[in-house]
Symmetry: C2
Subunit: 444 residues, 2 copies
């Protein structure tokens, strides 16, 4: 694809990821090639200075997508045409042969992170590493924001099913990435078909209000016709949406039409807790004791937690999930921390960072409860854990530009989130604003 020549066309999907990049990465490259500093050996580090909105932990997500995108970070004829408009010939020639040839270490996808955790460490020449900044941050910031919000929702749902249905409230290509991040964080299923295709996530969905409204004639609405058709087409295990008109009447008709083996009813509006109780009682009285109740409609982790006491079987979450529940970006940065073995760091106000290539480990009690994130310089041995259990957090992801074989996959990442949540001290799962669940200590 990247080597085809064709007229620019906004509708063409370009396989190359090389232009998903800020222009200044390329002007820096041009300048660095001019004075030979381009060849200096560098480490860039991805980390978050803080967790958003008083969150107590973050979830690393996007690593798998980033490694796929990295393989397509190549400049074909079409990409070179664009950059040639502002770059000198030497730089354009250098880009023609570009592929990342360095090493990347990082946290496992699905691991928790805290302020200062060195989530990704990219090593190679300045030239080959600087180009990856924008792409790496776009993917990690987006996916980690969604996964971090999703994990709080899963935790609040306390074992009940959670369905991601936010596609309509985010960019059309961010939608399948959001589904992936939500599934990674423990969501049960997604409404998004592209996520089903790309990532094999279980798909779900039955009907919207439009389907009920469609069954309207000049003499008025015919909710029963809509339900009857849906059950005939999708089976008695389907979920009927009962709140288009009157909910009590909707439930009555649903069970009348489908019988007591009806799979589920969905309520998308109103005071969801009160309605769930009423509808459960009504369903039970109608003999539909196994019919599940699905709630949706402006749910977030706080609403989910407040509904814990109610007879709910699954939660459908849209807007608040795909917008990170108030934190739509994880705020990670990609910082140069080492040049030819010398630690470097910006000194200007409020944006300090710590120089040097780093490693990290997480310390836990014998019960498995974590107590501290320790970040240390890679040139030093790991600090003495003082009798605590220790887990090294960074694994090799890329060696000499090639993805390391047998990296953890989406299922592994999902399992790791679940383990991570269990490992937190109990305060760490509180939804209220607070300090990070464990402190991060830098050992120089």
């Amino acid at each position: 694809m990247a080597n085809q020549t064709h007229a620019p066309d906004a509708t063409v999907a370009h396989t190359s990821t090389a232009l998903l990049t800020d222009q200044y990465e390329l002007t820096m490259l041009a300048a660095a090639l001019a004075d030979e500093s381009a060849q200096r050996t560098c480490t860039f580090e991805v980390f978050a200075r803080r967790l958003p909105n008083g969150r107590r932990y973050g979830v690393v997500a996007g690593t798998g997508r980033l490694l796929d995108a990295l393989a397509n970070f190549r400049f074909g004829a079409d990409e070179l045409n664009i950059v040639a408009k502002f770059l000198d010939d030497r730089t354009v020639a250098w880009l023609r042969d570009y592929r990342f040839g360095g090493d990347i270490d990082g946290y496992r996808e699905g691991d928790l992170y805290f302020p200062g955790s060195p989530i990704l460490s990219v090593r190679g020449t300045f030239a080959e590493c600087v180009l990856l900044e924008t792409l790496a941050l776009s993917i990690l910031n987006h996916d980690s924001a969604i996964a971090s919000a999703a994990a709080r929702m899963v935790s609040a749902a306390d074992g009940r099913a959670t369905i991601e249905m936010g596609s309509r409230r985010t960019h059309e290509q961010a939608a399948p990435a959001s589904s992936r991040a939500a599934y990674l964080a423990g969501f049960t299923a997604t409404s998004n078909l592209e996520a089903v295709r790309r990532y094999g996530i279980p798909g779900t969905g039955t009907s919207a209000h439009a389907f009920t409204l469609l069954h309207t004639d000049t003499d008025g609405p015919h909710e029963a016709d809509a339900f009857r058709t849906q059950v005939r087409a999708l089976g008695v295990g389907t979920t009927l949406l009962v709140d288009t008109y009157d909910i009590t009447e909707g439930v009555r008709i649903a069970v009348e039409v489908a019988g007591p083996k009806l799979g589920g009813v969905r309520i998308d509006s109103g005071d969801l807790g009160v309605l769930a109780r009423q509808v459960r009682k009504q369903l039970d009285e109608l003999g539909a004791t196994e019919t599940k109740i699905v709630l949706s409609g402006d749910l977030d982790e706080h609403a989910i937690a407040a509904l814990r006491v109610e007879p709910v079987d699954s939660y459908g979450v849209g807007t608040s999930l795909v917008t990170g529940s108030g934190a739509p970006t994880a705020g990670m940065v990609y910082k140069l921390v080492e040049v030819d073995g010398v630690p470097v760091a910006k000194r200007s106000s409020h944006k300090e960072s710590i120089g040097g290539t780093k490693r990290a480990s997480r310390l836990a009690r014998s019960t498995g409860t974590v107590v501290e994130e320790v970040v240390y310089l890679a040139k030093n041995p790991a600090p003495d854990p003082g009798g605590l259990q220790v887990r090294e957090l960074m694994i090799p992801l890329v060696r000499s530009g090639e993805k390391v074989p047998d990296l953890p996959d989406l299922a592994d990442a999902r399992a790791l989130v679940a383990q991570g949540l269990i490992s937190l001290p109990w305060e760490g799962l509180k939804l209220s604003n607070g300090e990070p669940a464990i402190p991060t200590t830098f050992v120089g």
Copy 2:
């Protein structure tokens, strides 16, 4: 592309947009095909029930992208394989031949909107229209959220240049769409190269702190070397980033290295207003009276407005722009409003809508200041404007499935936003929370 057969691969860019869709659109289709209601003539309408966060206006954006995506909403072999897992054979066969063949009217891209404005009106059979819900909302909700935030920033910048540099804080494919929406709303340029390629938006960018830090040796940092190289490679008109170490020293070195014809200096941290004043004074004293000051670092519309009194030449805006400055989605919905000529509407609590296919016009005084948005049923004549100027807001976008020729392009949309902001009553441009700038009146 859609008709190629290949193994599922998360890294392949699929040109078909058909799976950027919620599963329930397709199960509703299957059920509607089963009882013939699929062929009923319907109108679906896109509108926002409210403006987010006390905003006073919204900006319609994404229409052009939606019409491009619509042309690729076709089910090839790969898409059919996925949907065949949960759909009956008849529905799959129907999808094989699917193309939208109906009509779409809507607001011009770049026009302002208010609560209840019928931004898009999609007419055709239920089957062909229902499938477009998710894609239409994903695109319009994303792009309108960004454009609506961007317009407030442009308005606050009061004629000074505004640069979109938020790619790293949003999904990698949402980034170029965000650049487009920002440019449409009046931003001057973007850092995102894919937006340069796809939409021809002016690109910009020179260097990050990493480039200065790269010029560090065992004896310490060499800021002057970094500046010298950058000026040599990018010309004296470049913008030097002066806040890696000490800003005053950075400015001194910048002018020493580049001379008084230096294009610009960028400040990315600290108390930006105070620093802008100090740096302007210092630049002027050094004879660099034409050197521009670019500010960046966590700017939003409020910070931009607060900096109006300072000697700033351009603002670089990242996170707050691509996250919609607190409103990352526009919250538009896609509702069935008419079936075979009968108006339909959901009755459940807090989510009422008004049935019937609608049109809209905007009334203005002879000065051009708008006073009211009037929404009326399409079957009725336009209401009497009572001596006010009247502008019909909906134009034909698609006829029998084909995009209408010579639709307004991105430049037209940009001009329309600028006109729209001028047309608002002065309260409409206030950044504080409040009521919509003009009321929306529904004439039944």
